[in-house]
Amino acid sequence: GIQVEQSPPDLILQEGANSTLRCNFSDSVNNLQWFHQNPWGQLINLFYIPSGTKQNGRLSATTVATERYSLLYISSSQTTDSGVYFCAVHGGANSKLTFGKGITLSVRP
């Protein structure tokens, strides 16, 4: 099945800093989504982005499908951005959305 690798596994930022989270995948995809799991465990869908670029406030995402990666940008980070960020993809021979292992982000005040 399709492989999803996220990097870095852990990230510590000072409030106000910018960051880039990466998601690599092993096959062509027709669906790619980014999720944020907050410290209370809730999973929030950030972006549906199988290709191209989208922005939502301080967050933006870019997927370069031909090169099999996606990037999530967080600008002017806030403590509320802390949590785990998951990339999930659907494609190849898979019939389901496959999640990466997540990136744990800690934003310190």
């Binding site: 989504q33 799991q37 999640f99």
Partner: protein, 113 residues
């Protein structure tokens, strides 16, 4: 107006018991899912139902049985609970064409003692 709601939020029970988790979505989606998140935060799909029909059934023990009375509800029944079943279980929904976002419920933390 919670889009995907699941109950209970916490479930603590003894080994060998049978328990159920309920899920309902009001998004009008035709596909619902159960995911399991282990202690390392890894998310893995267990089941998927489209319009009350099972379309994905991963390698899950037979003790887990999903039931979908209608396309807005997907419940998960677990028989003879084991210690290894302890995890967070998430319900989710989307549209079958896979071009829609996946929306998650708030999760049920199951602890088997």
């Amino acid at each position: 107006d919670t889009a995907v709601s699941q109950t209970p939020k916490y479930l603590v029970t003894q080994m060998g018991n049978d328990k159920s988790i309920k899920c309902e979505q009001n998004l009008g989606h035709d596909t619902m899912y159960w995911y399991k998140q282990d202690s390392k935060k890894f998310l893995k799909i267990m089941f998927s139902y489209n319009n009350k029909e099972l379309i994905i059934n991963e390698t899950v023990p037979n003790r887990f049985s999903p039931k979908s009375p209608d396309k807005a509800h997907l419940n998960l029944h677990i028989n003879s609970l084991e210690l290894g079943d302890s995890a967070v279980y998430f319900c989710a929904s989307s549209q079958l064409d896979r071009s829609e976002k996946l929306f998650f419920g708030s999760g049920t933390q199951l602890s088997v003692l």
